[in-house]
Symmetry: C3
């Protein structure tokens, strides 16, 4: 992995950046022409639920940012109160056989692309960030969060099991002791709690301030060789990346086996009903 | 492991719990009919030395608690000043060939059962907890300790080497840097020191208060799906559990090789003599 | 590994120690006859650059200390402002094919000897300690640092990639989250910052005070069985030691491949020019 990446990496351009803005259906990429930093915005109303399409767009946008000589990637949401509500349950409830396989594969791909990204990554968490939303945030290298929101891997409260690579992202941020307890409890942390435990690095009053603080973090790499940085990061994260890469098929089968348990389907159905009732009120 | 466990797991009953009390020779299991939490009490005078019989009883009691739909397990001691003094040296000094094999195997079994337990576990540490006592406490998910006692893996002070899975339990609680130093020093921590470094989670003035705080920790899982919780915990701990499971035979041989070194036998003999003298004074 | 080491280990002598002082070309070993602690001083002007000869001397001195029944090893520098400036770039710039292989192999050997040393180790960091200097310091079990110096793995700033085993030493000291960020940023920490984050354990006003504090740390093992201690430490560090031992050849090839990239050679050339200009001013 290392070698092929090394050969394909291109050093940062030092000249002025072109302003680029690309819109796929569900994500937007905007590159700041002064800083050279790309902002990747998730835009799938109502809650940035991670379905097959959003996951594929995410991966494509990450690849685009890797290719366009950006100095860094900031992940954020167009929704003013939700960063991402996590995996779209509609992809898992009474799923189509082929589509659910494509869905999980797209999730694996998006994680491998983000967690292993060669450019510096930061999340401007401008809304609630449960489950898969927390996965995306903890796969970045830095997190800035707005007040009065919550973040966490709350899968056990939903009756599902976060796979090992969700845990890997979590463990790259939190001490093992704290990570295990939070995972088992399915605990959601407020912004203040997340800051105190280290689940996020900074708080910010507004989205603009959050984006600015993310840009400052990315700025700490200004005098760092981008190839050496990318290889160092990927080597540091190699064990987790290689574990999923080598166990992709088993990981997919494990997910399919679990999701097809009658008790799990029943639980998802009850949860969906509760969401519908909430929506009516 | 995951799949077979999944299929055999039974969700918590939501109705009232039967009050059950089982006494084997050296342990007691008592289930609180209001909370559904089982208290597992070690009761082998004078110091809860972990010999073959206590270890077998411990494992059997853990299995019973797993099977009786308890909401959680609290491990404690009937002794007012000693949680457990650790491995019974009489099992290792001039040992019978067959018995010492059974002893170590029972220790492996007890650890696999407790560290990998599907129910929430907490230790009410109501007395000193050196070596094997600390192993049991750190194999639980939460620790509450009474004041003026000590806890730690002090094997190096006794001239023996804590096996890798003792280290795994320790590392699931302490940061790596702190764990290594304490292990090499064979350091015993006072209650205050243990609290400060994170080796225990809370202090309590009395055993009743300790049991209550353990029950409160177990209560944090009230709204968590018990199957998802169990699978999450076991996945989080899988690497350590699988390591011992796959290396049981080598681990046993390593222990036997070590324990049969003349220098080690001599050291144990001297230590036993010093204990006898203490007992006389 | 464990067994052969066990059989070859010799317990600490309890009688008075002989005063020994051995000088190889680039290191000095001095054993305090009261404490039995060996001080290993790097002495390669002007900056203790780690070249083939210094690395071979380091390894030989560590072996000597292991063999002479010392109670511990304190690593320090004869230079009043530089602990070690890290790998000697002259060994990597336009290198001789055979010598550069011997150089990297000597670095592997020195790390395996120091990180896996059976005696307690401490670093009295009496000057700047970048890159390879930080590797040596973090391979010891304890660190005391003088004020107003800097320490860190700043390889990404030099355009190179610290190998996995550099990361292992770093991770044996820092939490994962902090280690990754610092590695990616190539961050140098001041003494105060290093103390706060845990990269060093204590600060000291003078070299004498630093040596004294290192000796006090080594003194914490006075009542610990030295064989049990050595086996415990080596077992705790076994995964990292075994990883390099089993991948030595690939690690060497990876280094040679990297160092021979035209872009890397060009970067080293520019860096050397800048050093020459600095030296003139």
């Amino acid at each position: 992995m290392m070698r092929s990446k090394l050969l394909s990496l291109v050093p940062c351009a030092t000249g002025p950046f072109r302003t680029m803005s690309t819109t796929t259906k569900l994500t937007t990429v905007e590159v700041n022409d002064k800083t050279g930093i790309a902002t990747l915005t998730m835009n799938r109303p109502p809650v940035n639920g991670l379905n097959l399409d959003l996951l594929r767009d995410l991966r494509q946008s990450i690849a685009e940012i890797e290719g366009n000589k950006s100095r860094g990637l900031i992940l954020t949401s167009s929704n003013p109160t939700i960063f991402s509500a996590g995996l779209d349950i509609m992809e898992m409830y009474k799923p189509d056989k082929e589509r659910v396989r494509a869905f999980w594969t797209a999730l694996q791909d998006a994680w491998l692309a983000l967690y292993g990204s060669s450019v510096p990554t930061a999340a401007a968490i401008n809304g609630h960030s449960p489950a898969g939303g927390c996965l995306l945030a903890t796969s970045c290298e830095y997190r800035v969060m707005l007040p009065k929101f919550t973040i966490g891997l709350n899968e056990t409260k939903l009756g599902i099991v976060a796979p090992m690579w969700f845990m890997s992202s979590f463990l790259s941020v939190l001490p093992r002791r704290e990570a295990e307890r939070a995972l088992n409890q399915g605990r959601m942390f407020t912004t203040d709690e997340a800051l105190q435990i280290g689940l996020v690095d900074e708080a910010a009053g507004t989205k603009e301030e959050a984006l600015e603080k993310c840009a400052q973090f990315i700025g700490t790499f200004a005098k760092v060789n981008p190839i050496a940085r990318a290889l160092t990061k990927q080597q540091f994260r190699a064990a987790e990346l290689e574990q999923l890469e080598s166990e992709r098929a088993q990981d997919l089968e494990k997910f399919l086996f679990f999701i097809n348990q009658p008790a799990v389907q029943k639980g998802l159905g009850i949860y969906l009903e509760s969401l519908k009732k909430k929506a009516k009120n």
